[in-house]
C-alpha cells in the first residue's frame, strides 16, 4: 500500500513537471518513439492492408457511379488545367516583374501513418519518416487533399504529427477571398475553428482557408478547408479538405523560408538556384517603385477578372 501511494505521488510529480516545462520529457519521448516505431510499423501493416481490402470491396459496389463521376470531373479538370497554366504563366511574368521572393523552396517526402492517437484529448499521427529523411520539428504535413498538421516530435525513423484538430494546434491562416488573417485552432472536435478574426467580419460559408505563412511556421498557401455555418457559440468552424479517418499516406513538406540579409545587396532566399538569384534584385528597389507595383497589381486584377 505504501508503494502504491508512493507511485501515485510520483505520477502526480511527473504531471507537474510536464506542465511546468513542456520540453522536460522531450528526449525520453524521442527515445520511446524511436524504440516503438518498428513495433508500430509491423503491427499497423496487416491492419492497414485489411482496412484497404474492406475499402476496395466497398468500392466495387459503387464502381459504375464512381466511373461516371470521375469522367465528368476529368472533363472539368481539363478546363481548369488550361486556365491554371495560363494563370501560372502570367503569375511568373508578374513575379519576375515585381522581383517577388516570398515563396520558400519546397520538397516533399512521402511516408505512411503507422499509429494514431484518438484518445480523449489527443489527435496525433505517427509516420514512418524521421531525421534520417531530413524531417525536422515544425514541418507541415499534407495528404492528397490539403494540410493535416505539423511535425512536433521528429525521431530518427519516425515522427509524431500534431493534427489540426488537436487541442494544442494553432495555425495562422488566411480566409479567402478577402485574405483576412485568423488563427485556426483545434479543440479535439472534427472541425477546427477560426479565432482572432477582425471585429464585425463574418466569413462566408464555403470560403477557402489556407495557411498564411505568418510567423515563419508553415509555408503560405497550403489549402486547409472551407468555412462552415456559424456555430451556436458564435464560432466559425472549418471543414477540412482532408478526411483524417482515411489518411494512410502523407507528405511532409520540407521548406526553407527566405532569410533577411543584412547585406547591402538585399535579401537572398536560401537554397534558391543560381539563375533565380541572378535574376533577383533588391527588395528595396522593387518596393520603392510603387507606380510599377500598382500597375502590375491592377493588371493582375484585370487578368483575374477576365
Amino acid at each position: 500500500m505504501t508503494l502504491l501511494a508512493f507511485l501515485i505521488f510520483v505520477s502526480a510529480v511527473l504531471l507537474f513537471i510536464g506542465r511546468a516545462d513542456p520540453t522536460a520529457f522531450e528526449k525520453s519521448r524521442l527515445w520511446v518513439l524511436d524504440g516503438i516505431a518498428p513495433v508500430l510499423e509491423t503491427v499497423s501493416k496487416p491492419v492497414m492492408s485489411a482496412i484497404d481490402y474492406i475499402g476496395r470491396a466497398d468500392d466495387l459496389v459503387t464502381l459504375y457511379e464512381e466511373n461516371d463521376r470521375l469522367r465528368e470531373e476529368n472533363l472539368q479538370l481539363q478546363d481548369w488545367r488550361e486556365a491554371t497554366i495560363r494563370l501560372e504563366q502570367k503569375l511568373e511574368r508578374y513575379q519576375a516583374l515585381l522581383n517577388v521572393q516570398i515563396d520558400p523552396k519546397m520538397d516533399f517526402v512521402t511516408g505512411r501513418v503507422i499509429a494514431e492517437t484518438g484518445g480523449p484529448f489527443l489527435r496525433t499521427f505517427v509516420v514512418n519518416l524521421g531525421r534520417d529523411q531530413s524531417i525536422e520539428n515544425g514541418y507541415a504535413v499534407i495528404d492528397s487533399s490539403g494540410l493535416i498538421g505539423r511535425v512536433v516530435t521528429a525521431g530518427k525513423e519516425a515522427s509524431r504529427i500534431l493534427l489540426l484538430t488537436d487541442l494544442n494546434s494553432r495555425v495562422p491562416v488566411f480566409v479567402e477571398p478577402e485574405h483576412v488573417r485568423a488563427i485556426l485552432s483545434g479543440d479535439n472536435r472534427n472541425s477546427p475553428f477560426l479565432e482572432h478574426l477582425p471585429k464585425n467580419y463574418r466569413p462566408q460559408v464555403g470560403s477557402r482557408v489556407v495557411t498564411s505563412g505568418d510567423g515563419g511556421l508553415l509555408p503560405p498557401g497550403l489549402p486547409i478547408g472551407m468555412v462552415t455555418q456559424q456555430q451556436p457559440g458564435g464560432q466559425f468552424r472549418v471543414a477540412l479538405f482532408s478526411n483524417l479517418s482515411q489518411t494512410d499516406f502523407v507528405r511532409v513538406v520540407q521548406y526553407e523560408f527566405p532569410k533577411v540579409s543584412t547585406d547591402a545587396s538585399g535579401p537572398q532566399p536560401e537554397g534558391r538556384d543560381q539563375e533565380g538569384a541572378a535574376k533577383s534584385e533588391t527588395l528595396s528597389s522593387s518596393t520603392s517603385s510603387g507606380a510599377a507595383t500598382q500597375a502590375a497589381d491592377s493588371s493582375l486584377r484585370n487578368d483575374l477578372v477576365e
Binding site: 508503494l3 502504491l4 501511494a5 507511485l7 501515485i8 510520483v10 505520477s11 502526480a12 510529480v13 511527473l14 504531471l15 513537471i17 510536464g18 506542465r19 522536460a24 520529457f25 525520453s28 519521448r29 520511446v32 516503438i36 513495433v39 508500430l40 503491427v43 499497423s44 491492419v47 492497414m48 482496412i51 501513418v113 503507422i114 499509429a115 494514431e116 492517437t117 484518438g118 484518445g119 480523449p120 484529448f121 489527443l122 489527435r123 496525433t124 499521427f125 505517427v126 512536433v152 516530435t153 509524431r160 493534427l163 484538430t165 487541442l167 494544442n168 479543440d187 479535439n188 472536435r189 472534427n190 478526411n243 483524417l244 479517418s245 482515411q246 489518411t247 494512410d248
Partner: protein, 171 residues
C-alpha cells in the same frame, strides 16, 4: 525435477499475462483504425485489466506494473507524462479499497461497478487534463471513451477469466 521445469515456465508465463495483456491493449489503441476523426474513441483496455485483477488476484498485477503500463501509454500516445499512470493507480487503489464488497459478486454487479469506476476515471481525466492544459476540455470524447470502455468489459472479462483458470491449472 525435469518435469517441473516446463511447469515453472508455464506458471511464470501465465503470471506475466495480466500485465502483458494490458500492454498489448495499449499497443492496440495506437493502431491507425481511422477513429481519429470519428465520434468513436478507442476504449481504455488497460482499465479493464486493472479492475478485473484488482478484484480477483491483485498479486498478479502489482502497482509497479500498473505504473509502467500507464507510463507506456503516456509516452506511446504522446500525451501528458504521468497522466495514465496516475489514473490507473488511483483506479487500482479505489478498487482495492472496495475489494471485499466486490469479490464474488455476480457479473451484473461487477459490470455495474466497472461502469461507476469508468465514470470516476472519466471525471478524473477531465479534471487532470483541464488542469494540465489550463483550459476546460471537451467532455464529449471522454464520455465516449467511458462508454466504449464499459461496453468492452464483458468481452475482456471473459478473456481474463480464462487466463485466471489457466493460471490456477499451472499453479
Amino acid at each position: 525435477m525435469e518435469a517441473q521445469a516446463p511447469n515453472q515456465i508455464a506458471k511464470a508465463f501465465w503470471q506475466c499475462t495480466p500485465g502483458m495483456i494490458a500492454l498489448i491493449g495499449v499497443l492496440i489503441s495506437l493502431i491507425p483504425f481511422g477513429l481519429v476523426s470519428h465520434w468513436l474513441v478507442f476504449p481504455a483496455l488497460a482499465l479493464t485489466t486493472v479492475y478485473f485483477w484488482a478484484i480477483n488476484q491483485p498479486s498478479l498485477l502489482p502497482p509497479a506494473v500498473i505504473f509502467m503500463i500507464g507510463l507506456a501509454q503516456d509516452f506511446f500516445s504522446g500525451g501528458p507524462v504521468g497522466l495514465w499512470a496516475f489514473v490507473y493507480l488511483v483506479a487500482y487503489a479505489s478498487v482495492l479499497s472496495q475489494r471485499n464488497i466486490l469479490y464474488s459478486q455476480p457479473f451484473a454487479v461487477l459490470w455495474g461497478g466497472f461502469l461507476v469506476l469508468s465514470l470516476v476515471v472519466g471525471v478524473l481525466i477531465w479534471l487532470v487534463g483541464s488542469f494540465y492544459y489550463s483550459q476546460v476540455l471537451n467532455v464529449g470524447p471522454i464520455a465516449l471513451q467511458v462508454l466504449s470502455t464499459s461496453l468492452v468489459y464483458p468481452i475482456m472479462s471473459k478473456i481474463y477469466s480464462q487466463v485466471q483458470t489457466n493460471i490456477s491449472i499451472a499453479s
